[in-house]
């Protein structure tokens, strides 16, 4: 059995009267593309924010690569090895594409203010490595021709890809993507799919929140379905698709003669 990358158990989060997450549990194995789906308001993004330290859970135990971690500080989570993208793109708009990716190297580099001012050998070597790695990542993601353009001038699809490149720059064990295909057209989705596949082959595990069921079904190895903050189904895409609980969550109560597969898509 593959090594477990992320393990989260009994995660609870309450916002006032709303139980946003109720005993959510997830186990992601090395090399998987793991899908997290559910109707609007199911708690997907809240769970994401809990995993990455943006929202403090009420309860929960978390393990990353077999070692317990406490997701209380986003920057510590990044250093621990989870990189994320955001549902509404959050690039550094007035920095170039290259600089955006270079910021991603922050978690894995060490030069301090004194190194910068004195331009020590260590800082120069590190700076060259940061730049080289950032160029490499832009190359891999297919954005190297925009390296010196400000991020805000890139097209929507390119901005999404740049966010992935920036996240990859942190050398994550787990790459968490919050609706990466949102607002993309068919061609861009095709390219995204190829990109995620190539990331997986590099040994990076991916957690994916996605509305596009077709994309999730085609890409993911395993899926968890959330509804009203609860896990209602876990399994392979095919299993989940047939699960009556899932069909109910998406389509309401199904009476007789359902045709779930066609409708889900």
């Amino acid at each position: 059995m593959a090594e477990c990358v992320l393990l989260a158990a009994s995660v609870n989060k309450r916002f006032g009267g709303l139980q946003a997450l109720a005993d959510v549990e997830i186990r992601i194995d090395e090399g998987q593309i793991y899908g997290l789906i559910g109707p609007n308001g199911a708690g997907k993004t809240t769970f994401f924010n809990v995993l990455t330290g943006l929202v403090r859970p009420d309860t929960g135990t978390f393990e990353l690569g077999g070692r317990p971690y406490r997701p209380i500080d986003p920057h510590r989570v990044a250093i621990a090895g989870i990189a994320r993208t955001f549902q509404n793109i959050r690039l550094f708009p007035d920095m170039t594409a290259l600089e955006n990716v270079m910021v991603g190297r922050h978690a894995r580099t060490h030069a301090n203010a004194l190194d910068a001012v004195l331009r020590t050998r260590r800082a120069r070597v590190e700076e060259r490595a940061i730049r080289a790695r950032a160029h490499e990542l832009l190359d891999e993601i297919g954005l190297s021709r925009y390296a010196n353009q400000l991020a805000r001038t890139l097209s929507y699809g390119d901005q999404r890809r740049l966010e992935v490149a920036r996240a990859l720059a942190t050398e994550p064990r787990l790459l968490a993507l919050d609706e990466p295909a949102a607002g993309m057209n068919a061609t861009e989705k095709q390219a995204l799919r190829a990109l995620l596949d190539s990331i997986r082959t590099r040994g990076i595990t991916i957690l994916l929140i996605e509305h596009d069921v077709k994309l999730v079904m085609g890409l993911c190895d395993r899926v968890t379905v959330l509804d009203y903050g609860k896990v209602i189904s876990v399994g392979t895409p095919a299993d989940v698709q047939r699960d009556p609980a899932v069909i109910e969550a998406y389509l309401g109560i199904v009476h007789a003669e359902p045709a779930p597969r066609a409708q889900l898509q």
Partner: protein, 393 residues
């Protein structure tokens, strides 16, 4: 020391950045102009050299504030407080004030406290940095307007303290300020009684000019290096999007405090030099207006862009002197009398300039290039999306 540093500075920058020869030549030309300037402009009167000295001080202040506001995006309206901390530190350690009012100290230092600039400046800078952290720690979660109000309050608190710390124990001599501050002495070169150097006899004022310009150039170098570093990128990242910056592994708290304290350090050093240069400090020099003037300099010149900030600082700092020589004669010639006092006119022009820049050049007179700051390392193709991007390293 000052001339050495002044002439060495552009050279070392050119070599370290791998600058093309054209830029290197321009830097050398600027260096020569800066060295010759006091002798040329001094012919029109010492007042001009004095104005240049103040311009250099304001360049340091503007560069320091630019770290906080321009790089890290934290609006600070109380920046002048750090200038005050530096100035009063120097003033207290290098004037008879403390020994006059504290007999115990007078016993310990029978010849008075005359601490060398090599000690006073670092102490002033570290104190200012400590105050920077003192201000930064409680405002970590504030942004924009809220941050501006708190920092404004902080600036006023420091000024009011300086104004009132003369009783029951006289620390600051209150509104009358501290006088008889020692002149700078560096390696036997006494700025009060300059000796002949290489056949030339520079006045005290010219020596200060070289010292201040050298420090301003050093400040520029430090700023440029900080900007193009891991830390500089982290500052810009939190300016652009704090949440995303955290997700990239940036410890926002530490990086912000570092911005506050490094910015304050620049203010503290500028303050110490100001005290030595003036020979006198009083709380009046550290009013809210001064904070606003320094902020105008960086906004006018180009927020976050070091050359722009320097341009803005020099322009606004030289304006009063230019007005003194033009406004009064011009008005007497046209109207027969002075209608608007040159000080009032200065404020009017600041306001007009700010409005004009906001309308026509919202990113400042000399903003950062649209395509990022990577220009010095990446030869550009014809367009922004040129196909060939050379690899580095």
């Amino acid at each position: 020391m000052s001339e050495r540093a002044a002439s060495k500075d552009p050279g070392s920058r050119a070599s370290s950045a791998g600058t093309p020869p054209r830029v290197r030549a321009a830097l050398a030309a600027v260096g020569i102009v800066l060295i010759a300037l006091p002798w040329l402009i001094g012919a029109f009167g010492d007042a001009w050299v004095r104005a240049l000295c103040f311009a250099a001080l304001y360049v340091m202040l503007a560069l320091g504030l630019n770290i906080v506001v321009g790089f890290a995006g934290l609006l600070d309206l109380g920046y002048i407080a750090f200038y005050a901390v530096g100035a009063y530190t120097y003033a207290l350690l290098a004037s008879p004030h403390l020994t006059e009012h504290f007999p115990a100290l007078a016993h310990a230092f029978p010849h008075g406290l005359h601490v060398s600039i090599w000690i006073t400046l670092p102490i002033g800078a570290s104190l200012a940095a400590a105050f920077g952290i003192l201000l930064g720690a409680p405002v970590l979660k504030l942004r924009g307007d809220y941050l501006a109000i708190v920092t404004l309050g902080f600036g006023e608190i420091i000024r009011i303290f300086l104004n009132n710390l003369n009783a029951p124990l006289n620390f600051t001599n209150g509104p009358s300020g501290i006088t008889l501050i020692d002149q700078v002495r560096i390696d036997g070169l006494d700025f009060a009684h300059p000796s002949t150097i290489a056949g030339l006899q520079p006045s005290s004022l010219v020596l200060y000019y070289y010292l201040l310009v050298a420090m301003a150039l050093l400040a520029m170098l430090v700023c440029i290096r900080l900007q193009n570093s891991r830390l500089g990128r982290a500052w810009m990242a939190i300016r652009e999007d704090e949440v995303a910056a955290r997700a990239m592994g940036i410890n926002v708290r530490n990086v912000k405090l570092l911005a506050f304290s490094l910015g304050a350090t620049f203010g503290g050093i500028a303050g110490g030099l100001f005290a030595a240069f003036q020979g006198f400090v009083s709380p009046e020099s550290f009013s809210l207006m001064e904070s606003i003037v320094v902020l105008s300099m960086i906004v006018l010149g180009g927020l976050g862009h070091v050359p722009g900030v320097v341009l803005g600082a020099v322009m606004l700092a030289m304006l009063p002197e230019v007005l003194r020589h033009t406004a009064v004669p011009l008005q007497t010639a046209v109207f027969g009398r002075v209608l608007i006092d040159s000080e009032v006119l200065r404020m009017l022009l600041y306001g007009l300039a700010t409005v004009g820049v906001m309308l026509y050049r919202p990113r400042g007179l000399w903003p950062a290039p649209e395509h990022g700051t990577e220009g010095n390392n990446t030869p550009r193709g014809p367009g922004p999306a040129s196909q060939v991007v050379p690899r580095h390293g």
